[in-house]
Amino acid sequence: MNHPMGIQSNPAPDSSFHSPEASAPVHMKTTRPFYWSVRRELWEHRSIYIAPLAAAAVAMLAFFVSLITLPHSMRELAALDRAHQPALLAQPYAHAGMLLTLTAFLVGIFYSLDALHGERRDRSILFWKSLPVSDLTTVLSKAIIPLFVLPVIVFLLAVVSQLTMLLISTVVLLLRDGGAATLWKQLPLFEMQLVLLYGVTVLALWHAPIYAWLLLVSGWARRATFLWAVLPWLGIAVFERIAFSTSHFGLLLKDRLFGFAAGAFDLKTPSGAPVDPHLIPLSQLAPGRFLSSPGLWLGLLFAAIFIAAAVRLRRYREPI
């Protein structure tokens, strides 16, 4: 080999081949590529934390506006039956939590629809595939966003904003001499936050097959991922309705979206009275029933199948 550019004169530092494992200079933990892949998702999809932050900001801002009339409302509240006071006090705190949960749901939907599509659209899949990261690691690092990262963000943001709201109302009420003691005594904020933690967990488990399906579609469809994700299900439901005048499939879809509420909570007290959704007491949680419901496990089974299919599919994927 005669090289005109004098490369020959550079002695090769090490021209012997070792087996790939033996010569690896850095011993890398298997979880490290996963950790960095999740961080990469957060770099690319900043809406994962910006949208919940914005939702929290909106809830707080609205609450600050309500502070103007807070002392007045507290005086009105004091005149009410003590049994009704906690539910009324809980409302703004519960609404903040609900807004955050809904925001995370929407972010999760659109994130999942883009997760395996964006990298093909912008051709960057060729860069990601040039690195020693398996398709399994890549797909799992994307699936964990709606299944774990978003619920954690929702919970932490809810706790922080609820505590801020409580603190500020206390200051306002102390200054205006209007019932800070009632607020602290009657608002079961810690219990609400435990229920919220249970709620976001239940929701993530129940919606897991939805996110997994969206991920699969995002890896499969060349374009119009949203339509591919939604229309087949609607089509089946409408077909069944027209052809057989039944709506089992439609009910199944409805159950997958909203069924967690009836599945994981006792929505009626033992006396038969409906539970106020703003203030669900710990006693109304039904984790045993939820964990033993076939709907949960069937859903998780489908989620696993969809994710496995997405992993397998990514091997064949190239830029679109």
Binding site: N2, M5, P13, S16, A24, R32, P33, E119, F127, Y316
Partner: protein, 295 residues
């Protein structure tokens, strides 16, 4: 050490045969240019080597099956698949963070010192960089990886001549040593001629020529024939003939240099000229491969 070994490598897309029983063997320390017209099967061959596409036949890259072990293989193989595959949202610093996070053979300091020689800022996003700078960034990342095989698929397409020159210069001066192997495809044949140690022409999914540059230089001769010797020269069966400014230039394969020197001025042809000659033959008469080709 054999870095890439394929036998009977075949890939069919519908009715199109992209690779037709390709056999190849690439040894450590070579810089191989894979040259072929559009649709010749170059990218398919590279994709098979990189584990990006399924194939029939046997293929072994650094002791691994690329299709089944892509992620493991990528510890030892790097590739730049044309320009602009770095995502536009990525920051330069994030690119380094990520590769450092997932690649056990990445030397971040090395990448940073390559980047320090360019105008690229660590806080810049890829979308803010020019096409040439994106390639510089990608090359800086790749050169900081201690890989055994580097695959470049049209790495300089769309770049101006300064960036192209710089690209190959840094590759040779800062990266290549004899323990590494580089496979490059390009249409800018003139620019890689002095870089290559080996040459492979591919056409219609088949390897039309496979030789080292030394072999190429001794094997192919171009003669600018003196007008009075044209008939005599044509009798020696040139593989190609063209006319430049009224002079006949004949290309010979495996001919006697002394005999040719009597007919006119003998010189080494460019890769591009031999390419045109062989592709012309291959395209007009695919069944009959040129001598000594398609091992």
């Amino acid at each position: 050490m054999i870095v890439i070994e394929a036998s009977g490598l075949r890939k069919v897309f519908g009715a199109t045969v992209a690779l037709d029983s390709v056999n190849l063997r690439i040894e450590e320390g070579r810089i191989l240019g894979l040259i072929g017209p559009n649709g010749a099967g170059k990218s398919t061959a590279l994709n098979a080597i990189l584990g990006l596409t399924q194939y029939q036949g046997e293929l072994n890259v650094i002791g691994r099956d690329p299709w089944r072990e892509r992620d493991q293989l990528m510890r030892d193989v790097c590739f730049i698949a044309d320009v602009a595959v770095l995502p536009r949202w990525l920051r330069v610093s994030q690119a380094l963070d990520y590769v450092a996070g997932v690649h056990p053979r990445f030397d971040r300091g090395k990448a940073e010192s390559f980047l320090a020689k360019t105008a690229i800022m660590p806080a810049s996003k890829v979308r803010e960089l020019s096409k040439g700078m994106v390639t510089q960034l990608h090359l800086a990342v790749v050169m900081a990886i201690d890989a055994k095989l580097l695959v470049l698929d049209e790495p300089t397409i769309g770049l101006d001549i300064l960036y192209r020159k710089q690209f190959y210069d840094s590759l040779l001066n800062d990266y290549f040593d004899r323990s590494r192997t580089i496979v490059v495809t390009t249409h800018q044949v003139e620019e890689v001629q002095h870089v290559l140690t080996d040459l492979m022409f591919i056409n219609g999914g088949r390897i039309v020529l496979d030789c080292s540059m030394e072999e190429f230089e001794s094997r192919y001769m171009e003669v600018m024939v003196n007008p009075e010797h044209v008939a005599a020269a044509q009798a020696l069966k040139p593989i190609h003939e063209r006319k430049v400014m009224g002079r006949n230039i004949l290309l010979f394969d495996h001919s006697d240099r002394k005999q040719l020197a009597a007919l006119g001025e003998v010189r080494m042809p460019s890769i591009a000229d031999v390419f045109v000659a062989l592709m012309g033959t291959a395209n007009s008469n695919r069944a009959q491969q040129p001598r000594g080709a398609a091992r």
